[in-house]
C-alpha cells in the first residue's frame, strides 16, 4: 500500500528520558523511522519496550517533568514538531494527527455525551458551526459503523459497549481528516470477536480515506493481518524493521525470532513444549552502551557486551540491529 514518495512523518534519533527518584530511565533511545503516505506501520514490543512512549513523545503528550524529550527531530508537514510552539502543536494534534488510545473507557469523558466529544475537534480545529459539526459527527459515527447514529449522539460513553466506545474513539480521531492516525493498542482491551470487527473497520477506513496509520500492539497476530511494514522495539530502541511478509518469513534479530517461536498458533503443528525467552526485559537505567537483548540472547558474543549494534541493512527493505548475521550464522563483518 505504501506509494513511495516523501514520508508524511519522519522521526530521527528520538531520545526520551524519565527522571524518577530512583534515577533516570532511558525509555526511548535513538529511534528513527519514516512513515510513508497511506502506509500502515505496525510497532510491536512488550510492555516497557518504549513503543507508546515513542509516539507520546513525538506528539508532546508526555508530562514534563518527569519526561524529558532529549533529542531528535520529528518532521511533519515541513516543520519539526518537537520545536514548534504550543499553539501550533495543538493545531496539529487532533487535526492533522489523530490518536486512538488503548482504553476507550478512560479516554472518553464520562460527563459529556458522545456527540459533544466528536463535535469538539470539528468546532475547534475546523471552525464548523454547531449544525455543520453535528451533521459531520453523525456521518463519522455512521462511517465507523455505529447503528442508529443520529439517536446515539446524545448517549453518554457508559451507554456504549467496549467495542462501540473504541469506534467512537476512532470517529473522534478521524474527525478532522488527519494525515496520520496513531493507534496505541486500540484492540488490546477488547474481546477477539470485537477485535476482529475493529480490524475489519480499520482496513475499510484506510481504503476509503487513505491516511497513514501507526498501529502499536504487542500482538504479532494482529500485526500480521493488518500492517504493511513492521518495527520491532526492545529496550527503547528499534531492533528490527521490515515489510510484514519479509519479517515473518525471514526474521533477522534473535529477539524477533524468539518472539515468533514463543507464541502458539491455533492452526498448524502444535508444539509439544513452548520455546521460551529466558530472563526479563531490561530496565534502561542509562543510555545503552551494549545490546539490550544480550542477556537473553542465544547467539550473543563478546562484541554484544561492548557495543550497541547499529541497524544493519540486510536488503529487501529490511534492517536489524544485531552483530550476528542470521543468514551466514556468524558475526557480521562490518
Amino acid at each position: 500500500m505504501p506509494d513511495g514518495g516523501s514520508p508524511v512523518l519522519s522521526v530521527q534519533d528520538l531520545k526520551t528520558v524519565f527522571k524518577t527518584r530512583g534515577g533516570e530511565i532511558h525509555a526511548v533511545n535513538d529511534v528513527s523511522f519514516d512513515l510513508a503516505p497511506g502506509e500502515l506501520l505496525g510497532v510491536v514490543g512488550e510492555s516497557g519496550s518504549g513503543k507508546s512512549v515513542t509516539m507520546m513523545s513525538l506528539l508532546g503528550l508526555l508530562p514534563s517533568p518527569p519526561a524529558d524529550v532529549r533529542g531528535g527531530t520529528v518532521m511533519f508537514d515541513g516543520q519539526d514538531i518537537l520545536r514548534v510552539d504550543a499553539d501550533t502543536l495543538r493545531r496539529i494534534r487532533g487535526a492533522k494527527i489523530g490518536f486512538v488510545f488503548q482504553d476507550p473507557m478512560t479516554s472518553l469523558n464520562p460527563v459529556f455525551n458522545v456527540g459533544f466529544q466528536i463535535m469538539e475537534p470539528l468546532r475547534k480545529h475546523m471552525g464548523l458551526d454547531k449544525r455543520a459539526a453535528a451533521q459531520r459527527a453523525v456521518e463519522l459515527l455512521e462511517l465507523v459503523g455505529i447503528p442508529d447514529a443520529s439517536r446515539r449522539m446524545t448517549d453518554y460513553p457508559h451507554q456504549f459497549s467496549g467495542g462501540m466506545r473504541q469506534r467512537v474513539m476512532i470517529a473522534i480521531a478521524l474527525a478532522c481528516d488527519p494525515q496520520v492516525l496513531i493507534a496505541d493498542e486500540p484492540t488490546t482491551a477488547l474481546d477477539v470477536t470485537i477485535q476482529a470487527q475493529i480490524l475489519e473497520l480499520m482496513k475499510e477506513l484506510r481504503r476509503k480515506l487513505g491516511m497513514a496509520v501507526i498501529w502499536i500492539t504487542h500482538d504479532l497476530g494482529v500485526i500480521a493481518g493488518i500492517a504493511d511494514r513492521v518495527i520491532v522495539m526492545y529496550g527503547g530502541q528499534i531492533v528490527e524493521q521490515a515489510p510484514v511478509r519479509e519479517l515473518f518469513s525471514n526474521p533477522q534479530h534473535p529477539y524477533t525470532r524468539a518472539l515468533l517461536k514463543t507464541i502458539p498458533s491455533i492452526s498448524g503443528e502444535r508444539a509439544k513444549r513452548l520455546t521460551i525467552i529466558q530472563g526479563q526485559p531490561p530496565i534502561m537505567g542509562a543510555a545503552p552502551t551494549a545490546c539490550p537483548f544480550r542477556d537473553r540472547c542465544d547467539v550473543a558474543f563478546g562484541r554484544c557486551a561492548r557495543e550497541n549494534p547499529p541497524r544493519y541493512d540486510v536488503g529487501r527493505g529490511h534492517d536489524a540491529a544485531c552483530f550476528y548475521d542470521a543468514d551466514t550464522g556468524g558475526p557480521r563483518i562490518a
Binding site: E46, S47, S161, G163, M164, D191, V192, T193, I194, Q195, A196, Q197, L199, E200, H218, D219, L220, G221, V222, I223, A224, G225, V244, R245, F248, S249, A258, L259, L260, T262, I263, P264, S265, I266, S267, G268, R270, A271, R273, L274, T275, I276, I277, Q278, Q280, P281
Partner: protein, 346 residues
C-alpha cells in the same frame, strides 16, 4: 485421554450462579445477572480442561463457583468424591487443601505487606501443624519448584516482576499438595515472552505433582497448547465441549467457529487463507438473555427455532458436546441437560 479407565476428579452438574439485582428505594429484587446458567462438565484426573470465552461470558465466575468461593444458586460440584456444594463451612475448610486457585492479577492477589515467605507459608499456617523449621523448608522447596531463588524469600512482592509474582502465586497454590487447581487467566497480565515461561512451568508442575487443571483463558492459542479438552462458554452456558484437536480442527457450534476465525494468525502468508466470520453486534446482557438460544442474536446460521427453543446440551459425537439446533437431538441423551456420566468408547 477418554479411555474409560479414567474417572472424573471434578464433576459439575447444572451449576447456576445468579447474582441478584436490587433496584429502587426499597432495594427490591428486580432480576438477576445469570452469570453461570446451567453448566455441566467433568474434569478427569490429571487432565487440563480449558475454559474459553469472551469477557463477561461467566468463565471466571464458573471457576470460582466450582471452588465454592460463591454460594451456588443451584447445581452440584463433586470434587474427589465430595459434593462441596452442600458441605458446611467447617467441612469445606477441611477439604479446601485439595483445591486451590491461581489468580489472574499477581499484583492484586499478593498482599504487598507480606514477604514471599509469609505468603507461601500462610496456607501451611492455616491447615498444617508443621514446625517452623519444617515450614521454612517446605517454602524453600516450593520456591525451587516454581523457579524462584530461595534467597529472595524475605522480599516483598513489589520487588518482583509480573512473571515472578505469578510464580509466587503458583507456589502458594501448591503449598498444600492440592489435586485440583483452577487457573483463572494466569497469563493474561503477563508479557508475551513471559507467558511461555509460566505455561511451561504449569505443565512441568502438572507432570511432577499429577495435578488437574481448570485453565480459564480468553487466549485460544494458549488454550490449544495447554488443554486436553476445551469448553467454550457464551453468556453463562457451555455451547461446546470437545477434545482439543477435534475442537480446533472442526468446530461444530457457530460461535466456536466465529471465535476461532477471529483469532489473528501470526503468519501473514496464512491470513488470506482462512475465512473470517465477523460477528455482528455485541454480547447481550446476562441480566436479560434473549429468548431461545443465547447466541441467536449474533448467529450467522440462525433458524426460526433458535429464537424460540433453547437447544439442549448434548453429546452429538463421542466426547463432543454441543448446544445447537443444527445438530438434531439424539435419542440417547433424552433431553437431559446433564452431560452423560461416562464417555466410554462404543
Amino acid at each position: 485421554m477418554l479411555d474409560g479407565v479414567q474417572k472424573p476428579l471434578v464433576s459439575v452438574r447444572n451449576l447456576k450462579m445468579h447474582f441478584p439485582i436490587y433496584t429502587g428505594l426499597l432495594r427490591r429484587r428486580t432480576g438477576a445477572v445469570k452469570a453461570v446458567d446451567g453448566v455441566s462438565f467433568d474434569i478427569f484426573e490429571g487432565e487440563t480442561l480449558g475454559l474459553v470465552g469472551e469477557s463477561g461470558c461467566g468463565k471466571s465466575t464458573c471457576g470460582r463457583a466450582v471452588l465454592r468461593l460463591y454460594e451456588l444458586t443451584d447445581g452440584s460440584v463433586t470434587i474427589d468424591g465430595t459434593d462441596i456444594a452442600s458441605r458446611s463451612p467447617e467441612d469445606l475448610r477441611r477439604i479446601r487443601p485439595t483445591m486451590q486457585m491461581v489468580f489472574q492479577d499477581p499484583q492484586a492477589s499478593l498482599n504487598p505487606r507480606m514477604t514471599v515467605q509469609a505468603i507461601i507459608q500462610e496456607p501451611l499456617d492455616e491447615h498444617t501443624t508443621l514446625s517452623r523449621a519444617e515450614k521454612m523448608e517446605k517454602v524453600g522447596a516450593l520456591m525451587d519448584a516454581v523457579g524462584l531463588n530461595r534467597r529472595f524469600a524475605g522480599r516483598y512482592p513489589h520487588a518482583f516482576s509480573g512473571g515472578q509474582r505469578q510464580r509466587i502465586g503458583i507456589a502458594r497454590a501448591l503449598a498444600l499438595n492440592p489435586k485440583f487447581i483452577v487457573c483463572d487467566e494466569p497469563i493474561a497480565a503477563l508479557d508475551v515472552s513471559i507467558q511461555a515461561q509460566v505455561v511451561n512451568l504449569l505443565e512441568d508442575l502438572q507432570e511432577e505433582f499429577g495435578l488437574t487443571y481448570l485453565f480459564i483463558s480468553h487466549d485460544l492459542s494458549m488454550v490449544r497448547h495447554i488443554a486436553d479438552r476445551v469448553a467454550v462458554m457464551y453468556l453463562g452456558k457451555i455451547v461446546e465441549l470437545a477434545g482439543r484437536e477435534a475442537l480446533f480442527a472442526d468446530p461444530l457450534h457457530p460461535y466456536t467457529k466465529a471465535l476461532l476465525s477471529a483469532v489473528p494468525e501470526p503468519d501473514p502468508s496464512r491470513t488470506g487463507h482462512t475465512e473470517r466470520i465477523i460477528l455482528e453486534g455485541d454480547v447481550p446482557s446476562p441480566a436479560n438473555p434473549p429468548q431461545g438460544c443465547n447466541f441467536c442474536t449474533r448467529c450467522p446460521e440462525v433458524m426460526p427455532v433458535c429464537r424460540e427453543v433453547e437447544p439442549d446440551y448434548q453429546e452429538v459425537r463421542p466426547g463432543r458436546f454441543v448446544a445447537c439446533h443444527l445438530y438434531p437431538t439424539t435419542q440417547t441423551s433424552a433431553g437431559s441437560t446433564a452431560a452423560p456420566e461416562v464417555s466410554e468408547p462404543t
